[in-house]
Symmetry: C2
Subunit: 456 residues, 2 copies
């Protein structure tokens, strides 16, 4: 029951912002499987991981017992530049749909990276700076993560090298320029600057690049210079940890107004946004304190949860990264070229994979034409042009709200609006012109890609 | 003196949002000069104006006696989708500059139009809808206004025809696609769809178009169809009125924390943002209740305040619009092609022109290279990539803060951050590559343009 009139946007006070991240793994009964050394098949030690990641991030990566980890004051101050993010009551969308459902979204797009990625970027950059490093390397596909990391590094005066998937580098010059404006060096991948890049270029001249290949390059560069470390914007446990600010803020905002969600929906690529949004709710669910339907939404063209296999796999194409146990389509899987936007990683966060395997959450896949239909419907009534990624969640939120319309149920639906689509207008143009198409990989394609899983 | 710790961002509660616009003209001692009929040289009557503008907007245009005009509930609800906008304390910029000055900015960019333009777009669209019209026509240059109007029309289910300066139409395909996503029809101007367009094309085949020319086309189309009216995003009294929400919110947020600004700074093209931001402060200044330094910042390449003439002039190139008394460079004036972003209108709001002529505000002009330097400096510490237009205000805010550093004065500076630069990355790319140049028109150029002022 609603005790108070719910405003359009609920903003927490700065004093109400989280001071600790919530480490959901501490409350999980079945812990996510550890990262393995691909050479030995054994769990990676902190020492091994420290060659690639900053020391403090290694601790966070391995820690599955501490439920709350304090957010350093410097990071909290940076968060204040663009957080708290609003929890928005979608009154206009509800009216348009004529649904009795109550729809909320946590909007993470009000910053220049245009997405939630900044929440982890500043944390990872901070620990690198604290360790006295000179810089960090990373990869970016659609560009949100690279932009976020550039912003964080610029703020902390840290060097930032971004390997950007070549096709995105060429097709998204604006993303590239934002990163350069924030002082990052942006290299189209595959490049001649790394061994793995040269090898891939020799084998596939004229390739468009892929996220897995850009990861390989960024990891190689960080591994060869002791003043650099590699950072990653999704998939990892540490990223889920940092992104828990989304869920913690959302839950506090809901608690203030006695809002109890029935359904929580998020898009899922590597899982960073979804993992962050659901963290405190999932914690309650595991402890039996509350029940929620939790739905991961993925593209039908890259369906790791709904059609992948739960197994150990490489995180990168070059197969130089650790092995992670996850729902995967195989490290060689590539979404078809007509797929717009992100959510194109072949695997899924180990944490979310374990929760899904334990039956604690659901997953659905949706096709991109219906996703863009939802995006435009949303934009026209709620005013925000959503990112293609976020629009996957919008699609399912609308579908659930329409089910409520049929049944008359007044369910409360919350979804993550991870970002804005200002840099995705080529995709919107395609949709506006009626040129957007769908693609569902065949069983044979997925089986072929899964045939190359490493033997563990 | 500060009584409470000032947060990074001050958000008003929805219940604290303004319920009336503030009509500064009611408190002005010297009223802005009326619009004249170019054929007769006489002030335009409400009836004459009603052929072009909606009836209620005509009333607002002419009303210089009612200090507060109620904001209809429907508009207030729309405002709640993206307002209140935050008043941000620029702690990070202050630290970077090592200045004792306290810097604040009112950030209007957190909506898909990327600027403050939405504040007046929804008001103008609302009155058109209320009058039972089928649609509205307008022009857009850089694209913020066209996007804002598209969003408002889409929300109200109103037809929207945008004449977009041809060079922008071609160079800013993303802006065009946002408008199309919101259902607007976007026509590159000059076009074959109007008499004035055909005439200009015949005289200047291959022309890039101009704002003044796009205005002429939009006005012609609205004038010929009784189900349409023309709307304009700046310059007009009604626009200053709607934009007063910026200043009203800013003042209320400051009052909550006992913040008294010494200097208020805004960029000025047609004057909509500056007029809105300063409205309540200027009201106090006129009544002798407080004193503020108020600074308009304009591009050195389009210096209507600092080098223009205070005279009656046409608002459009086609000379079919009413005459307005304003600081003007002549209706044929065009900023040089290397000028990036907006702030390219040849004249200035009649309201602001009168205030400037009365000595109630100052004006300075700045060159674009120094503007982009300020933009990048700001982006790197405050996290927001600013619009080129807004960066004019940033430049002067930084300059004033650096003066405080020299003198040790703890002045409080407030500036308007009107929008984001996400659609201006070609300009940032130029700057990043060191290819940006400045241009200051010669005295002869300005004199030549002013020679064509209408005789009144």
């Amino acid at each position: 029951m609603e005790n108070k009139k719910i405003p359009y946007k609920i903003y927490l006070e700065e004093s109400e912002m989280p001071t600790s991240w919530y480490n959901l793994r501490a409350d999980m009964i079945n812990k996510p499987a550890p990262l393995l050394n691909p050479a030995t098949g054994q769990p990676l030690s902190a020492k091994e991981l420290s060659a690639v990641f900053c020391d403090e991030l290694v601790q966070q990566e391995l820690d599955d017992t501490t439920p709350f980890i304090e957010i350093p004051e410097e990071i909290r101050n940076f968060y204040k530049m663009y957080r708290p993010s609003p929890l928005v009551r979608a009154y206009c969308l509800e009216e348009k749909l004529q649904t009795p459902a109550k729809i909320y979204y946590k909007f993470e797009g009000n910053n220049t990276s245009g997405s939630h990625k900044l929440n982890s970027a500043i944390a990872q950059a901070y620990y690198a700076k604290k360790q006295g490093l000179k810089g960090v390397t990373t990869e970016t596909g659609a560009g949100q993560w690279g932009t976020a990391l550039s912003m964080a590094c610029s703020y902390l005066d840290l060097d930032c090298k971004v390997y950007m998937v070549k096709v995105s580098y060429e097709q998204k010059p604006f993303r590239r320029e934002v990163m350069r404006t924030y002082g990052a060096s942006v290299v189209p991948s595959p490049s001649e600057t790394t061994e793995v890049g040269r090898k891939i270029l020799a084998e596939h001249p004229g390739t468009n690049g892929s996220l897995g290949c850009a990861i390989s390059e960024a990891v190689e560069v960080a591994g060869k210079d002791p003043n650099y470390r590699y950072v990653l914007g999704s998939v990892l446990n540490q990223v889920m940890l940092h992104q828990s600010v989304i869920g913690l803020e959302a839950k506090k905002a809901m608690d203030k107004y006695d809002i109890k969600p029935d359904i929580i929906i998020g898009c899922a690529g590597g899982g960073s946004n979804l993992g962050g949004l659901i963290a405190p709710f999932m914690g309650e669910k595991i402890k039996g304190q509350a029940d929620y339907r939790i739905i991961a939404v993925e593209p039908a063209s890259c369906p790791s949860f709904t059609r992948g296999k739960y197994a150990y796999d490489f995180c990168d194409t070059g197969m130089i990264c650790p092995l992670a146990k996850m729902y995967t389509l195989g490290s060689g899987f590539m979404p078809s070229p007509n797929h717009a936007g992100g959510l194109r990683f072949h695997g899924m966060s180990s944490t979310l994979s374990q929760l899904y395997d334990d039956g604690l959450m659901e997953a659905v896949s949706v096709e991109q034409t219906e996703v863009f239909e939802a995006a435009v419907q949303f934009a026209r009534v709620e005013g925000i042009l959503p990112a293609p990624e976020s629009s996957h969640a919008i699609r399912v939120a609308i579908d659930e709200a329409l089910k409520c319309k049929e049944t008359g149920e007044e369910k409360t639906i919350v979804f993550g609006l991870t970002g804005t689509g200002y840099f995705d207008l080529f995709a919107y143009e395609k949709f506006n012109n009626g040129d957007m198409s769908d693609y569902i990989p065949t069983d044979e394609e997925i089986a072929a890609s899964l045939a190359n899983l490493p033997k563990v």
